[in-house]
Symmetry: C2
């Protein structure tokens, strides 16, 4: 019997909106989105809102604002009677009870494939909510409202979700684009300095591998960014999000191949997050991972010394630590094992992005563990930044 | 700040192969597939095999054959040291421990995104395995080897997977196309008569809504099909699988809209499966669902009486029951509620496919519950088929 050859394409579209005071009655953005989306009639659509506790603590008025906004401007969408609150940060991805809670809410409140799940929070909460929405009824429409720098410029605008499984980071997950992303600059005000800074690492990452001009812009704005200047942050987030979405659309959105250039700096970052039991934030770990791989690239004569110093300088002036004692533990074996684990995590051939120069990454397929150890030593012995140097 | 508009497409391709004695050393089909797929080098690919207990019971030599086939013909793929066995049928989708077992095997055996999970079994087992593979590492390549008529002509060649959640059928799942499907006709020999027959209902379903000539072919081959003629079954499966894959590629593969024509006959089927605690097989329930909706269509003067009789006759001659006492229970309220539940299950507007004539379905957006009740009465009082009429 003749073989059946099946081929088809699935198209995804979504917009990333940039705004302020998203839930203010004078801001029509969300209303307009739902009006545009409401094409099919004849049934009641619903929305289930899930909020990051770390965010809602600082926004006690959120529930009231949301109810008012929907009641006044989006009356055809019925908000679920309860807003679900979930602890923020890695904890929510570690605890399968949080996943169950969301799936149960989808069931109890009758959220169907044409209803919406709205996640409001940091990257961890959005990963959890995205996963729960993606697998409930084989995918409920997801709206992301990221509330950290990292989630606004990177994780929240992308196509991935996940939870951890028995200590394995991101072991369960899917590729599932949202139907819309709303980045509200004012939501970042309540972030502590670590989380404000952390997300900047992802912008430095894309700049380094793809856009020297953006790196120069960051270089010129380190003081503003470190000083929590919102205008500078707005530009940084927009440009980073744009590069991120362009990369997804231009390449291999669901990562069927082995190449993942946006994982520059991430092999060591993943290992460090793990070694510190996620006390080091993702972006903080990425900053160290970038530093490590740039020192490595310079040691193998790939990245010129001047470039390396500019990169380390920008990271340090933003306030990132460039070394963590766990990197050296166990004679650096823990860290070196990270390369093999990273390959297993991605699957396929080991593919690591290194820098040739600022703005240009190149992929390599092996790393020399001795040189990695030397790079760690280099970071360990870097002179500490003085306070004055950070602020100059 | 300017809105970022993101659009991209993801392409999927897979083949459905038809064969016999798939794991015989003289059959190069599987070997050829792996050779074609093995484009990226530099790392070890693995394969994890998961088998339906109801199948392996009848194929005690399976493990040995598999090991031998891989060792001899596909030495570059490393089989996981254990073949995982899972109870077949709806039970495996109900028990979350089975899902956990598969995810754990993926972890323990180091199955990565460029390795394979191979599911061998009926539709239920393939749904479970497909789901576990789809969410592990955000998607491991899935090879389906369906071993029932229904899974060879319908569920196994499509793009959906699922498990049940707290008694909710298919509540958790994803859309995740396989990388290949291998339909082995000889695997059907060990099926009991109910499972042999059950899958024929899906072929009647697609024939009725799309292809009068195929229905006529089935009409002419009821005796052969009921008598377990393999040649007739091979044709039926091929044509049904082809119509199924064509439908997916030609329409809305991941069902973003509300229309699901292939769910003809399924609203009552789902309810009946549930009301009988899945003692009625999916295909058996679909046969009754088709009968019910055809009687309904005739009662509202949509489907001519002659067509109705031909349809009921084909179903009956194949040995399908056309009525089940649970349909009438609770004054038929249980059944009538099924319509609303079906809408919630699909989400969006209620959309039900009915027949205008054999080979041509039309969508309607409501059903009259009184007419449904009358249709049930009609089926209840149908004269039972005598044995001789079944065989003639
Ligand atoms: N899906 C992806 O593509 C992707 C990409 C990168 C990172 N990630 C994931 O993102 C997570 C990290 O995300 P993150 O950096 O946003 O941190 P996070 O989500 O861990 O949040 C950090 C802390 O900030 C709190 N918080 C959130 N918004 C706040 C606000 N506006 N004000 C005050 N507190 C607030 C949270 O409750 C939490 O305690 C990791 O789990 C990582 O794996 C996912
Ligand atoms: N994913 C989809 O698109 C889709 C479509 C339709 C149905 N389904 C699902 O498929 C399931 C029904 O599948 P099914 O009809 O294949 O039945 P099944 O998987 O429930 O299997 C029926 C029985 O046959 C046994 N069995 C399997 N192969 C055998 C063989 N070759 N010899 C002997 N016994 C064998 C099984 O162990 C089981 O006991 C339901 O869970 C239904 O929801 C899924
Ligand atoms: Zn990152
Ligand atoms: Zn079916």
């Amino acid at each position: 019997m003749q073989t059946i050859e099946q081929t088809f394409q699935v198209q995804y579209s979504y917009a990333v909106y940039f705004t302020q005071h998203l839930f203010s009655l004078s801001n029509p953005l969300l209303q307009q989105f739902f009006e545009k989306t409401n094409t099919e009639t004849g049934f009641q659509r619903k929305a289930l809102v899930v909020v990051d506790e770390g965010f809602s603590e600082h926004h006690p008025e959120l529930g009231r604002e949301l109810s008012q906004y929907f009641a006044t401007l989006i009356p055809h969408i019925q908000l679920a009677p309860e807003i679900i609150t979930v602890p923020g940060g890695e904890a929510c991805k570690n605890d399968v009870a949080q996943f169950d809670k969301l799936v149960k809410a989808v069931d109890v409140f009758g959220i169907d494939r044409h209803s919406f799940v709205i996640g409001i929070g940091g990257g961890a909460l959005l990963d959890l909510v995205g996963y729960a929405a993606a697998v409930s009824h084989r995918g409920i429409k997801l709206i992301r409202i990221p509330t950290t720098v990292l989630s606004q410029n990177d994780s929240g605008v992308g196509v991935k979700n996940s939870i951890n499984y028995k200590g394995k980071k991101n072991f369960l997950g899917t590729f599932a684009p949202p139907v819309a992303v709303f980045n509200d600059l004012t939501f970042l005000r309540s972030l502590d300095d670590r989380d404000w800074r952390s997300g900047i690492a992802e912008a430095i990452k894309v700049a380094l591998i793809k856009d020297a001009a953006f790196f120069e812009w960051i270089e010129e704005h380190t003081a503003a960014l470190a000083g929590r200047d919102e205008e500078a942050m707005a530009y940084l987030i927009h440009r980073c999000a744009e590069m991120h979405t362009d990369h997804i659309a231009g390449g291999d959105p669901f990562e069927f191949g082995s190449s993942r250039p946006l994982d520059f700096g991430h092999w060591a970052a993943h290992k460090l997050e793990y070694l510190t039991n996620f006390e080091v934030r993702h972006g903080e770990a990425v900053a160290i991972g970038i530093a490590l791989d740039c020192v490595y690239a310079s040691k193998i004569n790939m990245l010129p010394e001047a470039g390396l110093q500019r990169i380390l300088d920008v990271l340090a002036r933003l306030g990132f630590e460039l070394y963590h004692p766990r990197l050296s533990e166990n004679d650096k074996i823990n860290l070196r094992n990270g390369i093999q684990e990273f390959r297993e995590h991605l699957g396929g051939q080991l593919t690591i992005m290194l820098l040739e120069k600022i703005g240009k990454g190149v992929e390599v397929h092996e790393l020399d563990t001795e040189v990695i150890a030397q790079a760690v030593d280099y970071l360990e012995t870097l002179p500490q930044l003085t306070e004055s140097r950070i602020l100059h």
